[in-house]
C-alpha cells in the first residue's frame, strides 16, 4: 500500500501537523510519501525529508500554489492518486478546503477528522461535537482522510527520504487570491502550544483581553477564545477554540470567563490539565476542569499573573 501525506507549511517552515499526520499514515501501514505543494519550497522539502520512515518527498513548485487554493491543490493531487491507495492531510483549514474536492473527483467518501486508526480501512472519528465516537469502515478503493492532529503524536526525525520535483498542472483560472489579513503574534501557534490561555464573554471587551494576553505571555502560552468572544470582536476569528473552530490538546488549558458550552468543550476537552476560572460555581466548565477557581476573573487573573 502507498500513502500520500500532504504537508502543512507556509512555503518556509514545515508545520508539526505534518509529523502528526505521518504518524496516522504509518498506523495504516505501507509506504509513506510526502507531497509539498507551494512556491519556493526547497527548504520545506528538506525539512520533510528528515521525518522518520518516509519514502519519497514529492515537490510541486509553482506560482499558482503559493496560497494552496483549493482548485489548484485538486489539480495537483487528483492525477497523483493513480499511484496511491490513500491521501491523508491534517484537518486544518488549508486542507479541509480541497480534500473534499479530491474525494469527489475520485468518487469516494472522505473520512473527516479521524482521531484513531483501527486498520487500513477502519477509522475512529468524533461526531456530534465529540459527544459520540463513530468507528467507520470504508469500502472505497482509495481513501481520502483528514486527521485531527491533536490525537496523534508527532513522527520523529532522523529520516533521509529522497526527493523529486513534479511538473505543475495547468493553473485554474476561476479562482484567484486577492489578499490576506494574517493575525500577527509572537506567541506559540494555538494548535501546537503546550499551554493555552482562553478568554470568553466574561472578559467583557477587547481592551480587557490584555489581562488574558499578559497571563499567556507570562506562561509562554498561546491565546484562545470562545465563539462568544470572537463574535463580540474581542479577538480575531482564528482564536476560536471548539467544534467549529480549532481543536487543541495542550498540557495545560486555562479557561477564563468561559461557561463551557458543548461546542467549546469539543475543541479542548482532550487537554491534559484543564483549569477554569469563573464566577459562577454552576458553570458547566467546572464539570471538566481538573482545577476550578470560583472567582471574579478581574481579581483572580492579575493575582495569578503576579504569582507566577
Amino acid at each position: 500500500m502507498a500513502i500520500l501525506v500532504v504537508a502543512e507549511h507556509d512555503n518556509t517552515d514545515l508545520k508539526d501537523a505534518t509529523h502528526k499526520t505521518v504518524t496516522a499514515a504509518k498506523q495504516m501501514g505501507g509506504d509513506v510519501d510526502i507531497l509539498v505543494a507551494g512556491k519556493n519550497i526547497k527548504d520545506v522539502m528538506a525539512q520533510a525529508a528528515k521525518i522518520d520512515g518516509v519514502r519519497h518527498i514529492l515537490g510541486v513548485d509553482h506560482d499558482s500554489l503559493t496560497r494552496q487554493l483549493a482548485e489548484a491543490m485538486q489539480a495537483v493531487i487528483v492525477p497523483l492518486m493513480s499511484e496511491y491507495d490513500a491521501v491523508i492531510a491534517p484537518d486544518t483549514t488549508a486542507h479541509k478546503n480541497y480534500m473534499p474536492r479530491v474525494a469527489a473527483k475520485l468518487d469516494v467518501m472522505q473520512i473527516s477528522s479521524i482521531t484513531g486508526v483501527e486498520s487500513a480501512d477502519t477509522f475512529i472519528r468524533p461526531i456530534y461535537a465529540g459527544n459520540a465516537m463513530a468507528t467507520v469502515k470504508s469500502s472505497d478503493a482509495k481513501k481520502v482522510i483528514t486527521v485531527r492532529t491533536t490525537a496523534f503524536d508527532a513522527a520523529g526525525e532522523g529520516g533521509s527520504a529522497d526527493d523529486k520535483m513534479l511538473d505543475a498542472p495547468a493553473a485554474p483560472t476561476t479562482s484567484q487570491f486577492v489578499s490576506e489579513e494574517l493575525t500577527k503574534s509572537d506567541r506559540p501557534e494555538l494548535a501546537a502550544a503546550k499551554i493555552v490561555v482562553s478568554g470568553g464573554r466574561g472578559v467583557g471587551s477587547a481592551e480587557n483581553f490584555a489581562i488574558i494576553e499578559s497571563l499567556a505571555d507570562k506562561l509562554g502560552a498561546a491565546v484562545g477564545a470562545s465563539r462568544a468572544a470572537v463574535d463580540a470582536g474581542y479577538v480575531p476569528n482564528d482564536y476560536q477554540v471548539g467544534q467549529t473552530g480549532k481543536s487543541v490538546a495542550p498540557e495545560l488549558y486555562i479557561a477564563i470567563g468561559i461557561s463551557g458550552a458543548i461546542q467549546h468543550l469539543a475543541g479542548m476537552k482532550d487537554s491534559k490539565i484543564i483549569v477554569a476560572i469563573n464566577k459562577d460555581e454552576d458553570a458547566p466548565i467546572f464539570q471538566v476542569a481538573d482545577y476550578g477557581l470560583v472567582a471574579d476573573l478581574f481579581k483572580a487573573v492579575p493575582e495569578l499573573d503576579a504569582a507566577l
Binding site: L69, A70, E71, T92, A94, K96, N97, M99, P100, R101, V102, A103, A104, M109, Q110, S112, T122, R125, P126, I127, Y128, A129, N131, A132, M133, T135, V136, K137, S139, D140, P172, T173, T174, S175, Q176, V178, S179, E180, L219, R227, V230, D231, P236, T244, E251, L252, I262, Q263, K272, I273, V275, A289, D290, Y291, G292, L293, A295, A300, A307, L308
Partner: protein
C-alpha cells in the same frame, strides 16, 4: 442569478447527543431537531441577496425524511422563494448528497450555491466542496464576507491564520462560517405566507444517483469521559497545584 441553498435537519445544537446502548448510533427519538445553524446563515445570506437585487430567485433544498419539510418551511418563512424536498429515510453521505445537489443545480441552472461549512451532527464538512468539484466550479469556503459584482464574487474566508480573500468567477459554491451574518427570526405573517409557497417532492431515484454508502458505521461509542476535579480556594492553591502537576 438563481441561488440554491441546501439545508439539513439536525439535532438541535443545545441538545447533548446520547449514544444508543446497542452502539448503533446516536439516539434521535424524541429530541429537538432544528435547521443546521450554518444553514440558517446560508438562508439569511441568500435572502439578503434577493433583497439587494443580486439574486433573482432563492431555492431551498433539503434531502431527508418527511420532517425535513419543516426545515424547508422555516427557510421559506425567512424569505426563500420555493423549496425542493428529496425524500429519503436513509442518512446519506455527503458524497451522495453532493451528487443529488449537482443534478438539482443543473436542472435549475443555478449560478450560486450557498451551503453550510459543516453540519453540526456528522461534522464531515465535505458537501459544499464536493459539489464544487463535481460541477468544476470554484469555491469560497468558510465565508466571513461575500460581495458579488458582475460575473464574479469576492469571498473573505476565515482561515487558521486569520482571513483570506479570494475572487471567484461565477458560477461558484460558497460555504458559510459563523460570522457571515446574524440570521433573522421569521415573523408570524411570513410563517403564514410560507405555507402557501411550493415545495417540489422528489426522491433520490428521480436523479438517478446511486446513494449506496461507502462508509459503514461499525459502532458508535461514548467518548472517554472527563470528571470534575477539585475546586481550589484561591490563587495560591491553584499555583501550588499546577506546580505539583509539573505543567508550569
Amino acid at each position: 442569478m438563481k441561488v440554491l441553498v441546501p439545508v439539513k435537519r439536525v439535532l438541535d445544537y443545545n441538545v447533548k447527543a446520547r449514544v444508543k446502548a446497542d452502539q448503533s448510533g446516536v439516539d434521535l427519538s424524541n429530541v429537538k431537531m432544528s435547521m443546521n445553524p450554518f444553514d440558517e446563515i446560508s438562508v439569511e445570506e441568500a435572502v439578503r441577496m434577493k433583497e439587494a437585487g443580486t439574486a433573482t430567485e432563492a431555492i431551498v433544498v433539503s434531502i431527508g425524511p418527511a420532517k425535513a419539510q419543516e426545515t424547508i418551511r422555516t427557510a421559506l418563512a425567512i424569505g426563500m422563494d420555493r423549496g425542493i424536498h428529496v425524500l429519503t429515510d436513509e442518512d446519506l453521505e455527503p458524497l451522495a448528497i453532493a451528487k443529488i445537489l449537482k443534478a438539482i443545480v443543473e436542472a435549475e441552472d443555478a449560478q450560486l450555491v450557498i451551503a453550510g461549512k459543516q453540519a453540526i451532527d456528522n461534522d464531515y464538512g465535505a458537501t459544499g466542496s464536493m459539489l464544487a468539484a463535481m460541477l468544476d466550479w470554484p469555491q469560497g469556503t468558510f465565508a466571513n464576507t461575500v460581495e458579488t459584482s458582475g460575473g464574479s464574487m469576492t469571498v473573505k474566508r476565515e482561515v487558521d491564520g486569520g482571513l483570506q480573500t479570494v475572487k471567484l468567477t461565477l458560477p461558484a459554491v460558497v460555504t458559510t462560517d459563523l460570522r457571515l451574518n446574524e440570521p433573522r427570526y421569521a415573523r408570524l405573517p411570513d410563517i403564514m405566507k410560507a405555507k402557501k409557497k411550493t415545495i417540489d417532492a422528489k426522491t433520490p431515484e428521480d436523479f438517478g444517483v446511486d446513494t449506496t454508502p461507502r462508509l459503514k458505521t461499525v459502532k458508535v461509542t461514548e467518548p472517554a469521559g472527563r470528571s470534575a476535579g477539585v475546586i481550589v480556594e484561591n490563587v495560591e492553591e491553584l499555583v501550588a497545584s499546577l506546580k505539583k502537576e509539573g505543567v508550569i
